[in-house]
Each structure stands twice: as C-alpha cells, then as structure tokens.
Symmetry: C2
Subunit: 367 residues, 2 copies
C-alpha cells in the first residue's frame, strides 16, 4: 500500500474525527475510495472502534433514481435514520470513477430525494462527521492533472502539520471576532460587510474545531449588510455547469446586479431560489498554502491560500451567537476570488492582509 494512504487515514481518524475506543463509526465508501477504506479500517481496528461500512456510487444512485417512477420518495426510511442516529462518527470517503456520474438524472428528482432525506442528513450532522477524498483518476481528471501529480498535490494538502496551521489561523480568527466590518479591495472588487456580533470558525480539519473537511484550512464567518462589488475570478463548476468571472453588486445586503463571463443563467437560477439566496451566508479566507492551485473541487479550492470566498445562501450556526438565526436559504453556494496580487483585506480600516502576506508575517507591508 502507498504509505501516504495509511498516513491520510491516520490524520482522518485521529486528528480530524478524534475517534476513540468503542465509538460507533460509519465509513462511507465510493467505488474509487476502497483503498483508503482499507487503511481507515486498519486504523479503526487499532483504536478499537466499531465499524459499519456503507457504499455510495453514482452509477447505483443513478439507476435507482432513474427507475423510481415518481417523485414520492419515502421520507427518511427508518433503517437509514436509525443507522445514523446511533452513530458517533461518520467518515465520508469520496472518490468515484466519474464526477459526472449523475449528469442525466433530472434535477427535480435529485431535489425530491434530497428533501425526503432531511432527517437522515440532520442525523449525520449530529455525528462527528468528516468528509475527505481519496485521490482517484477521476478527481485528477477534473483538476486537469496527471493522476500521480494529483496524488502528490492532494496528500500535501491533507497530510500536514494541522496544529501549526490551526495556530496561524487562530490569529485571523481573533481579529475577526473582535472586528465590526471587513472590506476587501482588489483590482476589480471593493466590497464591505458587517461582522459585528459574529464568530469566526478556525477550520483546522478537526471536529475539535467545528471543522468537518479534510483538507481544510480556512477561517470563515457569517457576514451581513454587504455593500459593493465583487468579481470571483477562480473558475468553478456549479450544478454541473462551468461558471467564470461572476460579478455581483450588493446594496443593503442584497444582490442587486449580476453578470458573468460564463454561466450567467446558472447564477441567476441560484439567486432566484429564495430570498436568502440573494444574501451572503459566509465569508471565508483560504489559508492552506499547500493548496496552491485550482482543482475544480470546492473541498480544496475554497481553502486555497491567498484567496477569499463568499457564499450566497445559508449561514452556519457556529458563526452566530447562541439562539440567533442567520441567513436562511435552501442553498449555500461558494464562489472564490484570488487575493495574491493587488489586494487588501481590512478589518475596521486596519489592513490585516496585503497580496500574499498577513499582518503578522514577515514580508507584510502596511501600504
């Protein structure tokens, strides 16, 4: 076995999910992530955890959804719900054989089954869940990279000194928690948003930090009262469609104008989902500098060093004061922009980041 697979499994089980003896763990495999599943099983055995292995496959889901004759899916089947309700930890090991494997399943059917699995989904969120990927040829292809090149990239981003990055990210979290307003200026962006009363999450790839992705490496919060213009210059694929250079104009916290070099209809469709889809749910600052390139996979792209992202739609509870309800929406759509050149991020008029350096880093220049 490639020793990196075993190292990845150890980071996942020990740092990310913090599995201990007797934990009831669900390991969910895709058809391409079985090698990682074997390494995870080995780690779970060592930790004396209890394991149920479930299987996810786009081909299988597609066959089921295509043949299902209506949109009347049973709400939250008892056996699926019971499995997740009794679990302590849910490890989602993504890595299929075709990232477009559901391409011809009608959107209304995908939405219908998603609605009919709401309690099952909530039950997974009540576990110490972590989502990661096994670097498959399919994911490499999506990133336009050779498979071995992609493996080296992915393992560099995932197998790293997380404690040290957590310390680094805590510096930014502290400043955001104290601040009232964030402003980001680049050559095509000038946007301000309120963060007063909101808390930042130091997303250090561990449930101990309220962080459920491996890799992670971002600091995020839930902004409001957004004003100004922003261009997202990192390309992405949303709902299967390529989207480039989305340009949003905000007034009074809401999107009042939208444009895009590609995928305008997709963005317009998202904005029309509900009222909350026109407001921001998240501001995130990517701080994982081992993610040094775009790979068309949001799990990695949004944590890319020297980028920021904004999400239209739902806000995360971890960023809100106890009991407060943030922006509500059926969607949460992240879009990413580069900050490595001609860019500043200020909190309450103090520049805390300028084109590649934070204020506490050598190389930072205040103006």
């Amino acid at each position: 076995m490639d020793p990196r697979i075993r190292e990845h499994a150890e980071v996942l089980v020990d740092w990310s999910a913090q599995v201990s003896a007797g934990d009831n763990v669900i390991v969910q495999l895709d058809e391409g992530s079985i090698p990682l599943g074997i390494a995870v099983a080995e780690c779970l055995g060592e930790r004396e955890a209890n394991m149920v292995v479930t299987f996810n496959s786009d081909e299988l889901s597609r066959a089921y959804l295509h043949s299902f004759p209506s949109l009347d899916f049973t709400d939250d089947p008892e056996h699926a719900l019971a499995l997740f309700e009794e679990a302590d930890v849910f490890l989602r090991l993504r890595g299929g054989s075709n990232t477009s494997g559901m391409a011809d399943v009608p959107m209304d059917k995908r939405q219908a089954i998603s609605r009919a699995r709401q309690k099952v989904r909530e039950a997974t969120y009540d576990t110490d869940w972590v989502s990661t990927i096994h670097p498959t040829p399919s994911l490499a292809q999506q990133a336009s990279m050779a498979t071995e090149e992609y493996r080296a990239f992915a393992y560099r981003a995932m197998i790293r000194d997380w404690e040290s990055l957590a310390g680094e990210m805590d510096r930014l979290k502290t400043r955001i928690d104290k601040g009232d307003e964030v402003r980001i200026i680049t050559d095509n962006t000038d946007i301000s948003m309120r963060i007063e009363g909101r808390t930042a999450v130091n997303s250090a790839a561990s449930v101990a930090y309220d962080s459920h992705n491996l890799p992670s490496g971002e600091v995020f919060t839930a902004p409001y009262a957004t004003e100004g213009e922003v261009v997202f210059d990192v390309p992405m694929t949303l709902y299967g469609s390529p989207v480039r250079d989305v340009h949003l104009t905000f007034e009074g916290g809401e999107v009042v104008d939208v444009d895009a070099a590609e995928g305008l209809a997709t963005i317009e469709g998202i904005l029309e989902t509900d009222d909350g889809a026109r407001r921001l749910g998240e501001l995130g600052i990517g701080m994982n500098r081992d993610i040094d390139r775009y790979t068309n996979n949001i799990l990695f792209d949004e944590k890319m060093g020297d980028t920021f992202h904004l999400a239209l739609g739902r806000a995360y509870d971890a960023c809100l004061p106890e009991g407060e309800i943030g922006n509500e929406s059926a969607v949460h759509v992240d879009m990413i922009a580069d900050m490595s050149e001609d860019a500043t991020l200020s909190i309450d008029d103090e520049v805390v980041y300028r084109e590649g350096s934070f204020v506490w880093e050598t190389g930072f220049s205040a103006n």
Copy 2:
C-alpha cells in the same frame, strides 16, 4: 450491461425477496458484485423500495481484524443493530476478488467477532433475507472454470422457472412430511435416520418458501437417531482446508467413528466443537439439475441435482414442530454425496429415488 445481470436482479428482488413498495431494503455488496448492485438498485427503484447499501470486503475486514489489539470486540454495536432491526429485507450480494481473502486472520479472532455480532446476525435472520452471488472471476477460479463458462453455469442455475421446480420439490416434501424414516444406500453408504414429527422445507429460492438462497433447489429436513455409515464423495473446502471422502459412522444418533482421504484433522476439529456437532442437523436432497457440476461453493453444491447432503450441527427451526428445540450447536457443516449411480433413497421402506429418477418421473424403476 449483460442482460443476465438484470434478469438475475429481477429474480432476486421479485421472486426471492418479494420486495414491495415502501420496504426498507439493505443491499450488501462485495467489491466484485457492484454490477449486480446497480441492477438491483434499478429494480428497487422500480418497486419504490427504500435502499441502504452496505459494503463487505475481505480486505477491509482483514485489515480491521488484524489491527484490533484484543478479542474484546464490543457486543452488537448500536448502529449496526439498529440498521438491521429497522430493515424489512436484506439482500446479500456475494462476489469478492479472492475467496481466500481472510486466510491469515486467526480463527480465534474470527470466532470472537462472530460471537460479538450475535444479535446483529439474529436481526438479519428476522428480515426477508436472501443470499446470492455475482459470478466473479474469483468464484470461477474457485470452481476451476473459465469466467464466461462460470457465468453461463451460474445464471442457468439462478435464472430459471422456480415455480415449476417448487412444484416438483413439493412432491418430495409431501412424502418426507408423511414419513417416519429415511434410508439412503449407495455403493459405500448405508444410513438411516428418523424424520417422524419433522417438517421438510421446499427450498425454492424464495422467502415465500422459507428459502433464503439464490440459487436454491433442495428439500431439507432435520433428522435424528441416525444409524449407519456414510461417505461424502463430493470434494469441499471447509474453513479453508480441502476435505475429501469423509467417512462417518453413526450409532444412536452420534458419530462414533470418522475417517477421510484428506482433511481428517479439520473434520475431527468440527466434531469436537460441542455435543451437537456429533449429531446431524440437516438432511438435504439436491434437486436443481441445472447445477450439474461441483463448483467448490456450498451455495451451489448442496443444491446439485442427484445429490444428498447431511449437516453436522445446528438444525433449522423451520423443520421442527412449533416450540420444539432441535439439535443445537455452534456449527452447521454440510457435506455432500452423489446419488446419480448405484443409489436409492427410501422413505419407510418405499424407494422414492433411484440413481437419477424420482418415483414420479418417467425413467424411474422400482428395483
């Protein structure tokens, strides 16, 4: 997709498991049975059943068991138990990549996890469960057959007119149910056993017949008070060891002498498991004539036409009067013998089968 995969899935879902709309179904895949899983998912979608897919892999189980540092497995983890307790149907689609995939896992560890999963196992038996195989290269290799040759064989045995075979088997069941004693004589066997008060199962590959294997095609009951000698001349692999020409001598229902051309130590080990392991739990008559050769897989071999098998150990409740406890044992080990030549099977001194023909078939001769 090979159309036989779809036909196999239909037989499994409709005839064997009798799935209906709203049923909570668990589909358990091995790493080699995913193509069948896709076809089953398609059928379950058409029937509007609810599906959870679990994954079984010897490589994964081996990794977990090897690394587990003791024999103190948690008894029946809540999430595994809850999943099966809330399920209506359990479809076990076997077909790995190496039938020896657990070969180096110590027996005491396999036994320990098996003991620690007793309630989970019982919960699976409380569902409408069916075990079948997807014809993989590994299973073909175990049968010493070319893969395509094996596929043709396996599908012939599984995709067939089960209703017609059920009618045929019912003739034998009726005679066994009425009978008090069975005697089988071949050139090296002369064995008698009591069946008075016991019921035969017409195992027609459907839960509607208390039959949980696809393929099936056997009539079996729970005999007692066995006397005489028997030689099992169909070769088999028991606990990973080849076993040939086991020769058992019974007195007063118990094995009093044992010999074998190969694997004697394995058989002796089985006989020493507990008191019940020295008595019979099953007499079965193979009646699936599409299984016309030995393939070193008990799921097929014991249903081979013109054979009988006896199992040392546990008897099945379905063969016993309500409330009666049959032979009890931790083991149930089937061994098979040919009846196609020089053989008779009699019930209460009436010959009902002679070398290839039952009493109701043309070609049968009474002496």
